[in-house]
């Protein structure tokens, strides 16, 4: 008879209890946005389209942006596939940025980056719903997932028109 080794009794526990860090990372709002992303789809009259890539995991985002007369974000949509963090981040971002000026977008980009990376930073109220992403700061390996859509929108502003690609890894 083939005998396998035994291991720690706790491994054989009957239940798997929920873990606070997991619930903090994957808040209900995040799970909801990842299951039903908002502003997901095509934007036929987009001024600029950015293909964002996270080569470490194969996640992709296609971001389409239309500007208003003053250069602000009139409309923004995304498509693609990826983990719950990258999808929810993109969904929440598009909701937040629609109608914002360039300066406001850049300000939010920096505030959001601090939110997901800086343990000591106090989340500014202006981030609103985006503050649910704060749990990412405890998972440094997931920061790129959270930042993918933001890197794409940064590129869209820089580019202004046409098509562009952006990657979470330096190429």
């Amino acid at each position: 008879m083939f005998r396998f080794g035994q291991c720690d009794n706790r491994v054989r526990g009957a239940f798997v209890f929920m873990i606070p860090e997991i619930e903090e990372l994957y808040q209900e709002v995040i799970l909801d946005h990842s299951r039903r992303p908002r502003n997901f789809g095509e934007l036929p009259d987009a001024a600029v389209r950015v293909h964002g890539d996270n080569p470490a995991c194969g996640d992709e985002i296609h971001l389409a942006v239309k500007f208003d007369a003053g250069g602000g974000l009139e409309d923004i949509k995304f498509s693609g596939h990826g983990c719950a963090i990258s999808q929810a981040s993109a969904s929440l971002m598009t909701m937040k940025l629609k109608g914002k000026s360039r300066a406001e977008v850049m300000e939010m980009l920096h505030a959001f980056h601090d939110l997901v990376t800086d343990e000591s930073s106090e989340a500014p109220k202006s981030l609103g719903d985006l503050r649910v992403m704060q749990g990412v700061r405890k998972f440094p390996q997931r920061v790129k997932c959270a930042m993918l859509a933001w890197r794409a929108v940064e590129q869209a502003l820089e580019q202004g028109a046409g098509e562009a690609t952006v990657s979470t890894e330096p190429v």
């Binding site: 008879m1 083939f2 005998r3 396998f4 080794g5 035994q6 291991c7 720690d8 706790r10 491994v11 054989r12 239940f15 798997v16 929920m18 873990i19 860090e21 997991i22 990372l25 994957y26 799970l31 470490a56 995991c57 194969g58 996640d59 992709e60 596939h81 990826g82 983990c83 719950a84 963090i85 998972f139 390996q141 997931r142 997932c145």
Partner: protein, 410 residues
Amino acid sequence: MTAASTIDWNTIREDFPILRERAHGHPLIYFDSAATSQKPRAVIEALRNFYEHDNANVHRGLHTLSSRATEAYEKARQRVAQYIGAASAEEIIFTRGTTESINLVAQTWGGEFISEGDVILLTVMEHHSNLVPWQLLAERTGARLRFVPVRDDGTLELEKLSSLLTPEVKLFAFTYISNSLGTINPVAELCEKAHSIGALTLVDAAQSIGHLPFNVRELGCDLLAFSGHKMCGPTGIGVMYARAEILDSMPPWHGGGEMIVSVALEKSTFKKAPHRFEAGTPNIAGAIGLAAAIDYIEGIGRPAIFEHDSQLARYAAERLAELPGTRIFGPKEERGALVGFVMDAAHPHDLTTFADQYGLAMRGGHHCNQPLMRRFGVSGTTRASFYFYNTTEEIDRMIKILHAAVRFFS
């Protein structure tokens, strides 16, 4: 009575100090041995012993320690030769690992013998380390790459081999065991077919070297590459095996100390293999650690290890199939010590982050297999990979954690 049934796998776990670690307050379940295996105390002690008692450079000092270090280093080479069934220790070149071994061949052998119009035959399931070096060679020389396709069940489309193996094929390089699918390729058959049209064969043995017994002369491969760290050895040491006559035909790779016979200002002459390919101070401790790993593995016995590991993998595949919305990759019957899967409920990165919080270490992503992932229409998978220190209880625990993940993410 099977080979594995005579072994007390419980006691073997105690040889691995790291298995007592906890992650996020839970007992560690290490299911990432395909990335790197854990190290038994015997290997850790061998490294420590070398640095505490024998450390010196090799092949150059006339003092006591240098003799001891040289002897231990060259003994390690003999141990490796014996372990893989090479005709002699001179056929064993120490490298940093599988990747460096394949690059060495691509650059030296490839640079010498591959030219425009030649074909390197690979498979769609190759790890990037057995793909990118050949892409670089092809770009440099004008050679072409050709690929054996992979069936839906994760095996190679062997019926296509005869049409792919045309006279332009100079080398057929393929993996022994797929690091994403667990497929065990019929190496001897592939080598025989390649030889029938005069092509050489290179086997990427990274995933098989510590798991199953084999002999390079019985397999009939011309070249074989592997890493020490996936077989209980240290990182930074690996091996390039090549038949002596192939090594003799290959020009040096890196130039420097240790690989020369004599050096003048304008020109040098070079040692024979293996030293011709080992410029500079080698990873002496690494080679000694690798020999200790071989001793350790042989102490258990590769047939028993293979039996144990593949039972774990089959059991894991069976249990994973119970989970809702789960797609399992790779052959159903015979498979190496790993299972790749995707779940409708969650992306591989979310699953691995979730599992890690329960002390379960798995890998999520493309596993350096991007073309293979594309072939199966996924951007990545979650991979649970096993070694002889893993248990069915750990797999049962994994299933519970994954059930919790399904409930959480759906």
